[in-house]
Symmetry: C3
Subunit: 665 residues, 3 copies
Amino acid sequence: MREDPRLRYGGDYNPEQWPAQVWRDDVDLMRRARVNLVTVGVFAWSRLEPEPGRYTLDWLDEVLDLLHAADIQVVLATPTASPPPWFSLAHPDALPVTADGVRLHHGSRDTYCAAAPAYRAAAAGITGVLAARYATHPAVALWHVHNEYGTSCHCRHTEVAFRRWLAERHGDLDGLNDAWCTSFWSQHYTDWAQIGTPRATQYLPNPGQLLDFRRFWSDTLLAAYTEQRDLLRAANPRVPVTTNYVLGDWVPVDHARWAREVDLVAVDHYPSAVDIRAEQQSALGADLARGWARHGDPDGTGAWLLMETAPNLIYTPGGRMHTKEPGRLLRHALGHVARGSLGAMFFQWRAPRGGAERFHSALVPHAGADSRVYRETVRLGDALARLAEVRGTVEARIAVAVDAASSWALRHPGLPSPHLDHHEEVAAVHRALWRAGLSCDVTVGGDRLDRYALLVLPAHYLVDERTAEWVYAHVHGGGHLLATYLSGVADAHARVHLDGYPGALREVLGVRVEEFHPLADDDEAGLSDGGTARIWTETVRLTGARPVATYTGGPLAGQPAVTRHRFGAGTAWYLSTRPDDATYQRLVTRVAGHAGVGPVCPGAPAGVEAVRRRGPGASWLFLLNHTDRTQRVPADGVDLLTGATVVGGVDLPAGAVAVLREPTG
Amino acid sequence: MREDPRLRYGGDYNPEQWPAQVWRDDVDLMRRARVNLVTVGVFAWSRLEPEPGRYTLDWLDEVLDLLHAADIQVVLATPTASPPPWFSLAHPDALPVTADGVRLHHGSRDTYCAAAPAYRAAAAGITGVLAARYATHPAVALWHVHNEYGTSCHCRHTEVAFRRWLAERHGDLDGLNDAWCTSFWSQHYTDWAQIGTPRATQYLPNPGQLLDFRRFWSDTLLAAYTEQRDLLRAANPRVPVTTNYVLGDWVPVDHARWAREVDLVAVDHYPSAVDIRAEQQSALGADLARGWARHGDPDGTGAWLLMETAPNLIYTPGGRMHTKEPGRLLRHALGHVARGSLGAMFFQWRAPRGGAERFHSALVPHAGADSRVYRETVRLGDALARLAEVRGTVEARIAVAVDAASSWALRHPGLPSPHLDHHEEVAAVHRALWRAGLSCDVTVGGDRLDRYALLVLPAHYLVDERTAEWVYAHVHGGGHLLATYLSGVADAHARVHLDGYPGALREVLGVRVEEFHPLADDDEAGLSDGGTARIWTETVRLTGARPVATYTGGPLAGQPAVTRHRFGAGTAWYLSTRPDDATYQRLVTRVAGHAGVGPVCPGAPAGVEAVRRRGPGASWLFLLNHTDRTQRVPADGVDLLTGATVVGGVDLPAGAVAVLREPTG
Amino acid sequence: MREDPRLRYGGDYNPEQWPAQVWRDDVDLMRRARVNLVTVGVFAWSRLEPEPGRYTLDWLDEVLDLLHAADIQVVLATPTASPPPWFSLAHPDALPVTADGVRLHHGSRDTYCAAAPAYRAAAAGITGVLAARYATHPAVALWHVHNEYGTSCHCRHTEVAFRRWLAERHGDLDGLNDAWCTSFWSQHYTDWAQIGTPRATQYLPNPGQLLDFRRFWSDTLLAAYTEQRDLLRAANPRVPVTTNYVLGDWVPVDHARWAREVDLVAVDHYPSAVDIRAEQQSALGADLARGWARHGDPDGTGAWLLMETAPNLIYTPGGRMHTKEPGRLLRHALGHVARGSLGAMFFQWRAPRGGAERFHSALVPHAGADSRVYRETVRLGDALARLAEVRGTVEARIAVAVDAASSWALRHPGLPSPHLDHHEEVAAVHRALWRAGLSCDVTVGGDRLDRYALLVLPAHYLVDERTAEWVYAHVHGGGHLLATYLSGVADAHARVHLDGYPGALREVLGVRVEEFHPLADDDEAGLSDGGTARIWTETVRLTGARPVATYTGGPLAGQPAVTRHRFGAGTAWYLSTRPDDATYQRLVTRVAGHAGVGPVCPGAPAGVEAVRRRGPGASWLFLLNHTDRTQRVPADGVDLLTGATVVGGVDLPAGAVAVLREPTG
């Protein structure tokens, strides 16, 4: 993105939904709120190219000029996430097909197969036109390719592309048969033409096929992205290019791998909980984004951009839209900035009258500017302006490893429990760290670990030889490790390592797990340290490790639940179950303490989130009071939001935020 | 229907399921029970036309003659709700297709697409044959077209017809694009051929398309009906024509609009609750029927006919068949007569040995005539005979507005809560009125309101300019209004009115709603009058109205929940949530009292339903004791069922009914 | 199976999943565990015939020779349950189709339609090749055709075959129309071509069509089996042939009818409960197997073989794999032997690294031979060797009738309750007998009853004339009968018997049921003997019977719930509801006592299962302590497992088993 000392502030702006007279009101309202960046064109294809090859760009010219005149920069999107109706009509073979063979139809968004040649050609076409026209427009600060890549398909084009991808990955059919264990259930392939996508089948599907299908889609969507990126770069190499990640276990995208292909990691984040877990989810989302950014650019600061969040609502899993309490909009936004976002962008600027998302929240709601939400919008703009000096990275000495392939493999049928979930385990340990006041980074197998005292592997199911070496080297060299159940059980093809779980990590952990004992939904196991555990237990035999906590009651009474093992110069902890939040918090505090890592702000009360950004020669302490009462937090510095000088401690009102420039030296 | 002083009594009679020797037994049993009207032929197509163009009508001749000889009139049905197997085999293109593209097959009933030309031709064919043969048969009192119109389809024929309908509705593509807000998600259409039915798609569908698809089906089914009706009328204009409405939110039929095309509103009613709500549902069903009848014939008495109900069972949502308690059959039947039905008709006469509905209840059950059910059948026939003098309309000064389009629009995805339901809100306020002993009529936007003191709009989501004027005029002229949450939020295309909810009703209500706060499933809000509320709350700003009750606790504590606004000569109340039943009952009592409307039978105990029918020069008070103990009800008159004279009050035994001819003058 | 004095012990062995060097380890481990029988080749088609017509059998030669050399016999399977990928590619028309019309694809197992000619031809081909090569191999003790027959399909081949089958069953269309009651809903057929399989349809399907479709599939799968069997027999008539039954209400297989076509009934049994119900389910599974065996061979001992069970896990309905407690593997195995199994076979020998069932439990788990499971495997082998002398049949004087067609018919839509389930009712009364310590056999309508004092009909919904005569003769001749609700209600075409339920059994039971009163999910009815009842109640009128217990409270208060009727020389009890387990236990104790039948081991404490096998001149008492404490059981004999002599009683430790050779004379 173009250099700009300001924090970015704005959101998706869809002028095509409104008559031109509204545009000027929009710009006025944006200026009142200090908005300085808007995303334009995400779903505008049918307006930009109403018929194949006929382009109507004048309105976009006018919008960009208008924004530029108001000193508002533009994230210009390619509109390829929603091909126009004429495309669907002309290319029915490019419509997506489900595993059941149902052809999906136009009527929503994303009704295309990204492996269909006609789609790719049309996408390149409109991207080329936009690149030619706008690559040097002074308003354009960033290209935004597509929107929330995340679809898959089972059409004939997909089948062909999948086979080609498999041939490249496995070399020959022997390789594939071996990787997929096709000797089970007589699935041995003797011709590439016999291989299809994992369509609806009679009974349990092949796990290797499922896993490769996810990987194939991550690579295929990435190719669709890079195709556009390269066209845009060719038109003007100085404008950076990104795409907005959408989070969720269902997305067949390996975000870490994609991070190497974007100029800036941009993330859409929509929490699903309405209580304090919303803030914990936001913190995790931000840490993931920063981790991916660093994975893509190991020498960078991990800067990233929150590209979308809902200003004033939280979508709950049951389909209800929860309205955020007053002040929460600002607190969420500053929480993201605290964790490295270059600013705060929202979906969307102005609420539409109709369309599928007519009730999605907006900075300018249906009620218009005379509304609480727009007033909070203005207040946030003011706050962000006061934080312009903040830079640098988040201070953290703990790294939590995430692994897309593990999350996919743990969603397969035929596992010992229906409740296995890599992302849930990541979230559980991240929540424990958050509650303990411990900052962490997210990391990916193979990344540099030299800045970290403690590495955490939460249900890192797939561990191949290279990843195992990465873990062993960290511990052997003096690092600390906390691995949770199911880590290291299988190899990169999801084949179980034999001779005892957790195969690849047996030696470093000093344990050998012989049998799994997944718990029933309403069952819990007691722990000797007073806590309880859920979801999973197992028979841990010690082969060098010492017990730290044992199970109480049940078939495993008296047997180890948590263990610790000296390995080389380091220590490896193993957690064979999922403890309750309070127990988990105590455990990570203990493990981190053992590794010499303490909380960001010792003495901060529960419910106050503390994050430190450290830049060249300065540091800033973000304090977010998520509770409903005033909290005393021990801290020193100057609060950028109020200008007040804080000595020894600050009284943070309920729901309030302070950003302290800390004393140097 | 032919003039007949008697109340109608009978049900669906399917002689084609039985050998001819049973027919005579049937007629004997009918006569013993005073049955005077039966519906014949509903599902007899494959017996009437076993091969295309070959008709076997002799058996029907014989049945009609037999019935006529026994003075039993006939509702003669066209059998088009279940085309014979030969039709499905010959016209696979006329089989219905689901949104997923699954072609449904023969094997049940209603396996046709009403937009398929072959189906329409075949339906016209058999109807023409029946019209020619039976239009002047002396037994035929009423034509019954088809059965429970309510199917939809996504086949190619539908697609073509849908486009034609859209062109007529919207004029041109600009109109359609505007109505559907296709600027959202790049759905702008440039050719009619691009538009399909709302098939399975990738993500959220377009609300405008969904709403128009429902309207299209209502009109298409209506055209299928009128096609048959016109053939029947042409054969003998003196025999009236109807079709039996099936209730349920899933039915793509605007019953009010259809009421103008039938000669008599006929309704099938199947309650789903087994406790007192069954009786409340029956009362609502009857009031709906009467409201539609009056909408279709504003100068009439609102007479209608209960065409089907289950004699002795209630289908529960979980799939269980609840057996009605003794006496309930009669009480349900008289409850419908109290509310304007010309009689009581049941599905069906004799329980079949097999077929899909072999356990559906019947007046003659599997056990035969030596059974409690048949004995209750005889008893009901006796009771109905005693009520022959009852006529006139139901006395009511409250009108509750229903709106099919609102109910459809509130079922769309992307709304702020998954629990929005126009019919549920209608039922909730109707239940409150029922509990308060207040009679109401059902009305439809635009209907005459001069007889009503109070108009109720329950979640009347769609309010266009014309409907708004109708409401404003009522209140301005001195009427009272009670509108509940989500009324007036959107226009006829389901596009949100801007600048504050409830857009179209802001001025008359004197409020401006800025934000919605839908409640979680297990959440409730407190109300300052001691009640509780569920499902929905919102931020109500007063712009002229006064608060009547406020929220207690939660994010809206102290803010208005119920308001009242003087507007012109009238008063408009706004209810921003769904109160519990007792609170709602108190509220409607208060609002009605303010409007000068009191209960039908002041002093009637809870659980005793009171309805007054008023005809020329006389009135009848129906009293139904739904409780399990004797209840004292203050009333005067002569009980038509017992002949007893009542002065000052009557002791109604548990479950009993009294119908008092009230003293005149 | 070849004569062999030993109990059989082993499981599925899949050498094709492992390199040849592992085979020798396998044989060593088998010998250490005294394994003497393994099933080979079940899913090996793609290894045996990697391309159409090219056979690679050398590896199988080597495996059989290796096993034979180690004195391990082989159950040789035809691999037809999983055609290779080349087959699916070459014959897409042979892939199965769901009721929705979805074509299932290769990727699991069982992706074929058994009615497709190409599939049948290919299956016969590979079977012929195996027969030619191995029919006289000395290792081969038994042929195992296919695996767990249980698929169905709706493709065109199926449609054609279904029509052919219907023509044979019903003779002509009149017969079919009558059987299916096609007069309901205008389904009268006039041409065979009009009839299809019960595909997805608009509303409730035809029950006659559904029932015949199940019967058709049972016969079609049986034809697929016998085709292979005949080929195998032709190659060597001395090697017996079987197939492994899979239990479950969803399986369209009438196992009783199939029993006449197998040389040995072989059953796969997977309990679904984790508590004591697992043992009760196992007991029922074993009794079913023995009952089928005797139905197939009325003069035999009812010997059968447990072909598959999971060594160390229980699959729970929610998808969790429960790990069995120590000792339970052995107890389950001996429980099956107690009830007539010739041995204990498991799925599978060695846990695979990958494939869909990579976490299914195995005798040699992922952890290898140094594991609790393998040690229990060795212990079981030792125990089985000690029981070699046990033979003869199970002693039982109670017969419980099962009926596949009743179980299918009670799964149809349109029944009065969604909770009707023949198998559940069988299980409920079997559990009551189990708890009461009463042994029973399973029987099938028409089987010889001379050895039984008491016949039980649990929800035997379909009773035709022949079956009714069978019941009447039993009771008339002095036998006892216990029939539960819904028995005898319908005929073989699922058409309701008229004039009062339970039609076909009214006279013998001396009752007439007029109305059903199914209970709501959370409802229960009180019984006058202190118990409670669920699911179902009904209005029982006495027409000769005497009340034994009545309902208390509810609409049926004071009316009969359980009745008893003298009929001829016998007594018939009727149970109109489903009592709780304790009440049911008391009831069967009383009914059995009335019939002169007492428990196997009077005085055995609750939770100790006692089964007696009686052979020529000797008897063996199996005692299984399923509780978690030592139990004293009154008994005498020599414990074959320990060699200890028991006089007067034995102290069975928690979870332990004793098998006593009882004193003779």
